[in-house]
């Protein structure tokens, strides 16, 4: 009852802020632009062609994801399902399968002429691949943005609770300090989750109506994984809230990490290590990668799940869970000892 009241009030507090109007406007504009693109003549034609199996580009076997997330590594051709899971309608002989495995991008149709693999597969499956690719790419971009927006929505929740005149009243009520802290945090997570779920569902519906492909893994992964990353980062924000009594510094640090540090640490071997030759510094960079939330890794994994259905890397989830638990326990310990 008490925790429910705290969660509900936090939820109300977030949605009573004027800043939420700005966030909703950004989301609506994004949805409108997406709708305009998806329902534009050009895109609709592409979908029609893909559905008819006439667009060789739509499921290229060049080895690059049709809409690879920014900064992500090239996708393997196996992600297209040509080798390990032949698409419905594709009739591969053993020799053709071997050729595909060896990297050949063509095989012979029943009449004996050489055709690109994509033209040989079922049109519906090809369209599905195209839409999945677009969704995976899109999710990579808005996944990071939704984490940033979520932090913006919730960064002040714990610090506003600790303001003079508010905290005195809350601490005089018969509930423990930990319950108070986690109740507020839970309210913040619930508010962000609702916002994210509505946005992703709207996006999923737009893709569904525009293409006829209703790809459920997008709905699940594009909600659950950014939310997971948000929770992990938010745990760090809460810890900093408790130490600094404010929200500005925690928000800035979270933004710096999510938008800059995490992508660089994710691609450190291609980026940072080319600038740093010292083994000691490289170890420090590696250390940061393993200690801080691996947000960019989660976003990459989300794109993989949306496209292939496979979790390519479970490590960011294990590391993120540990990071969040440590931050929250530490924050609760500090909050317990604090004088107001």
């Amino acid at each position: 009852m008490k925790i429910r009241a705290l969660v509900a009030d936090t939820f109300r507090e977030i949605y009573a802020k004027k800043v939420i109007i700005g966030i909703v406007v950004i989301e609506i504009v994004t949805l409108v632009i997406t709708a305009l693109i998806l329902f534009s003549g050009g895109m609709q034609r592409e979908y029609r062609e893909a559905a008819q199996g006439t667009n060789a580009d739509s499921a290229s076997t060049s080895g690059q994801h049709p809409a690879a997330p920014i900064g992500s590594a090239p996708y393997d051709t196996s992600l297209l399902g040509a080798e390990s899971a032949p698409l419905p309608g594709a009739t591969l002989t053993d020799s053709e399968r071997a050729a595909a495995h060896a990297g050949s991008s063509t095989f012979r149709d029943t009449a004996g002429s050489r055709l690109p693999i994509a033209m040989h597969v079922d049109g519906k499956a090809m369209l599905r691949e195209k839409v999945k690719g677009a969704m995976a790419g899109y999710a990579g971009v808005f996944g990071a943005i939704s984490i940033l927006l979520g932090i913006f929505m919730a960064a002040g929740i714990v610090s506003s609770m600790m303001e003079k005149g508010t905290i005195d009243l809350l601490l005089s009520k018969p509930l423990t300090r930990s319950a108070l802290l986690f109740g507020r945090a839970l309210g913040g997570v619930a508010a962000v989750a609702l916002n994210l779920a509505l946005f992703v569902t709207a996006l999923w519906a737009l893709y569904g109506f525009a293409s006829g492909v209703w790809h459920l893994p997008f709905l699940a992964a594009a909600i659950a994984l950014p939310l997971f990353s948000f929770i992990v980062t938010y745990a760090g924000v809460i810890l900093l809230n408790v130490y600094t009594d404010g929200w500005m510094l925690p928000l800035s640090i979270a933004y710096m990490h999510t938008a800059v540090l995490s992508p660089f640490l994710f691609s450190r071997e291609q980026t940072l290590f080319s600038l740093v030759s010292s083994a000691a510094l490289r170890s420090v960079i590696d250390g940061l990668y393993y200690v801080l939330p691996q947000t960019a890794d989660v976003i990459k994994t989300m794109s993989d799940i949306i496209y292939s259905g496979n979790v390519s890397n479970a490590m960011p989830f294990v590391q993120g869970t540990i990071f969040a638990v440590v931050c929250l326990v530490w924050a609760a310990w500090k909050f317990q000892r604090k004088d107001f």
């Binding site: 009241a5 109300r12 507090e13 601490l171 509930l175």
Partner: protein, 328 residues
Amino acid sequence: MPLPGLNGENLDELRMSAPAINISGFEKIYRARRRGENDVHALKPLTLAIEPGEVFGLLGPNGAGKTTLVKLLLGIVHATSGSATICGHAAGTTGSKALIGYLPENHRYPAYLAGEGVLSYFGSLSGMETSAVRKRSAMLLELVNMTKWRRTRVRQYSKGMMQRLGIAQALLNDPQVVFLDEPTDGVDPVGRREIRDVIGRLRNEGKTIFLNSHLLSEVELISDRVAILKQGEMVRIGTVRELTSSSNAYHIAVAADRAEEFAEAIAPFGPERIEGASALITADAERVNQAIDSLRARGLLITEITPARRSLEDLFMDIVGDNGGDAR
């Protein structure tokens, strides 16, 4: 009419039971955070017992440690040493907090909620059932004359309205002990009177009231006992009568038509002040009796002899002086 939800227990019975608040050696030191700063001794070891049904007033200048003491009792700050109980429960625990109501100084309520929403929220945090919160809220809003504004957002409330709502909030869970920190702050004279009446009714219902205020006349009017804090130390405690009575000062008055003779007769006893047919003299009982004999020997009709009382404000100013009482 008794306060809604309060059960009017017999006061004598209440006073025979264990103290409502029992403080033993409570002390608070804020350690210096930086080199060059000194520790702040916000509250020096304090021992105090407040009986059930008592209205206890705590006085002191800003920074004397009044709010620190209340916050220690509520677990908002942690004691450096010492302990306390509220109705037998260790202070600061959920057990003790379930029995208290608190109106903090400069309290802030969620601005997006209306008055009844605030009560609903804090009632839920106190573990009350929704139906009970609704019922009590309606009664308490009526009590503090806020029914009319119950659906108005708190952000539109004046300071006085916030105080009234704060009092309703503090009484929501039918507490045994009520802590009121500057309850009449920002309230107009009519509102002050109403708040004093509410406190009086709470006392009649057997509630223990811990009142923090720098409005001395207010404390003097409603408190059974008063303590004065200065620089984190309790320098005086007692009933208002005990603290304000001056042991060897007396007002003496005679019939008004013989003022001149009275002035002559009282002069040898060194009056501090003579106003017409009355005077204030400071002397021990024997000397006062001599003055009475002298007046009667002259055939003067004595109409009044009363121990002189100082106001709480006079006492407060004597104790605190000009240097205030800053501790924190």
